[in-house]
């Protein structure tokens, strides 16, 4: 009988290592290991296979729970009464916001929608020039301001212009910002407010872009941005690399925010809808 418990310990350690190296985080991993250990000792799980299957089920359930609130963005846009549908992209520096907007604009244009992109990053060197290239690639209209202009007014103008021309979607780019910087979080709150002034109840979505190589800090990012803006989704980028992006599991568990899309490269077609089952399979392979 002690031989069986020896096997159990080895299996649990191996599974915990998978979670930890995938950036799921030590606290959530320990909580799940305790749960599995309890079920093993009560005989609810009989062997290694049971344990593995039980863990996969836990991870899948965690990722699927928030998904029920999320729907296909194209469908949401096409069925909305309040045009334009406004999606705001936020996140810390360098995660892939601008590139994701370029990919999204292209996807929506190919689906027959008219897209306006707002160059809400009025701070960083060549931010507007970078977005302009993506706007051109995707056949979308770009609204920008002068460097150093207040980003809230750029996004206000982008939405107003979209209303004038009857565009279907506005994708609002914003400058990268660390969530610990109070004045920058105040600024992003103002950008959201300005969207609401340009069109009642805008934005319809606020998406936090998370770099797939990020560790536990992503959970702190999500908490802070969610507090300030009420996030409706996450885009997980750079999953074409070797990092697993497991921190979105911790975010789903703590905040119930769904992952909407996954970035898998630097070209215009490298944006895929998030599929929990596929993500879990990749995590455990």
């Amino acid at each position: 009988f002690s031989r069986a418990t020896e096997i159990d310990a080895g299996v649990l350690d191996a599974l915990e290592e998978i979670l930890l190296t995938a950036d799921v985080g030590v606290r959530l991993s320990m909580r799940w290991m305790d749960d599995l250990r309890g079920r093993l000792s009560r005989g609810e799980l009989k062997n290694a296979e049971d344990v593995r299957a039980a863990l996969r089920a836990l991870v899948l359930a965690t990722l699927e729970a928030p998904q029920s609130q999320a729907m296909d963005v194209e469908h949401l846009i096409k069925s909305t009464f309040t045009k334009p549908y406004v999606i705001m992209f936020v996140g810390v520096n360098g995660v892939g916001k601008t590139t994701t907007i370029g990919k999204m604009a292209s996807k929506l244009t190919k689906a027959g929608l008219q897209v306006v992109v707002g160059a809400g990053d009025t701070f960083r060197a060549a931010a507007a020039e970078q977005l302009a290239i993506w706007a051109e690639r995707s056949g979308s209209v770009m609204i920008r301001g002068e460097e150093g202009t207040d980003p809230a007014s750029v996004i206000f103008n982008a939405i107003s212009h979209a209303r004038t021309i009857g565009a279907d979607v506005v994708l609002a780019d914003t400058a990268g910002r660390l969530h610990t910087k109070t004045e920058l979080m105040d600024e992003i709150r103002k950008v959201k407010k300005a969207a609401g002034k340009a069109r009642d109840n805008a934005p319809d979505e606020v998406w936090l872009v998370v770099d797939g190589t990020t560790g536990q800090n992503a959970l702190l990012q999500a908490k802070e941005f969610h507090d300030v803006l009420a996030l409706s989704g996450i885009v997980l980028t750079k999953l074409d690399g070797t990092a697993k992006g497991g921190v979105v599991i911790a975010i789903a568990d703590a905040l119930n925010i769904p992952v909407r899309y996954v970035g898998v490269g630097e070209t215009v077609d490298d944006l895929k809808p998030f599929v929990p089952k596929a993500f879990v399979a990749a995590l455990f392979e």
Partner: protein
């Protein structure tokens, strides 16, 4: 600076008169959780904990050998904390007596790393740093892929009053070789090569870096890493190091609350030194690495 993880570890040892196997085990569990939350890599944490345990238990044996009743001066909690800090500082390595290796007539700095970590911004910061050291740097826009990457570097150069070399139609290795010739003509004494972000597993792009290195013989090949990077960063750093033999690395975005455990992991796994720390988006926000500050941040 003592965070929850450390507080819990010390609490496990409060009221004890000496370190024993059981109370060390509890303290070590708290430290393990704290280091993993700080994004230190799993294997690095395991080896660190083993060393701390060995020292802590070894010292228990030592004091119990003192038959004259002389015990350790510090409380077990403080003693354990000191062991952790010392082991961590050993791991971080000493302050770099450089941090840049200069060469006549021209010093070459080559910046590499994954996408979005802060290479271009740090190139600008290095130019600023070199200007303050009375050098004449030139920035080289060798990222020909990312939309407006060249423009981004040109704007930084313009703001700093530093010349930027850019040229359409050349491959990055050829562009960099030409830049050095141009720098010599302009009497610049340092050349900073900004390269495109890339995945360590992208063989073609990693080969491109090897070609740039072969053609420019940099004295300073720096891997730029994001302080918020997680567990996998150790793997990518190992590949960059094995293919390019980096001279050191630069940690960016330390002005946030990322604990920066990746720094420790990369240091242990590559054996290469941390050269600079990036502490903000402005050009002045770069500091030469000093181990003390980072140790307490990672341990929490």
């Amino acid at each position: 600076i003592v965070s929850k993880g450390f507080k819990n570890a010390k609490e496990a040892l409060t009221g004890r008169t000496e370190l024993s196997e059981e109370n060390i085990a509890q303290a070590v569990r708290e430290i393990r959780v704290s280091l993993l939350e700080a994004d230190v890599e799993v294997g690095v944490v395991k080896r660190f904990i083993d060393r701390v345990k060995e020292r802590a238990i070894g010292e228990v044996v030592q004091t119990s050998l003192k038959k004259d009743g002389k015990k350790i001066k510090a409380s077990p909690g403080e003693h354990f904390t000191r062991i952790c800090y010392e082991e961590l500082e050993n791991l971080m390595g000493k302050e770099e007596p450089g941090p840049i290796r200069y060469r006549k007539p021209i010093t070459v700095i080559m910046m590499v790393g994954l996408q979005g970590v802060g290479k271009t911004t740090t190139c600008g910061k290095l130019a600023h740093y070199l200007l303050q050291k009375k050098r004449k740097p030139m920035l080289v826009a060798a990222d020909i892929y990312r939309p407006a990457a060249v423009k981004q570097l040109q704007i930084l150069g313009e703001k700093l009053g530093v010349s930027v070399f850019a040229k359409d139609g050349l491959s990055p290795p050829d562009l960099c070789k030409l830049a050095i010739i141009e720098a010599k003509k302009k009497k610049c004494d340092v050349v900073i090569l900004d390269t495109a972000g890339r995945l360590a597993i992208d063989d073609a792009l990693m080969t491109e870096l090897e070609d740039i290195k072969a053609g420019t013989k940099p004295d300073n090949l720096f891997l730029v890493c994001d302080a918020m990077a997680g567990q996998d960063t150790v793997n990518t750093a190992a590949i960059f190091n094995s293919r390019l033999s980096i001279d050191g690395f630069i940690m960016t975005k330390l002005d946030g609350d990322a604990r920066g455990g990746a720094a420790l992991s990369i240091r242990e796994v590559t054996g290469k030194p941390i050269k600079f720390l990036g502490l903000g988006e402005d050009m002045g926000k770069l500091e030469a690495f000093r181990p003390q500050g980072l140790a307490s941040r990672i341990l929490g």
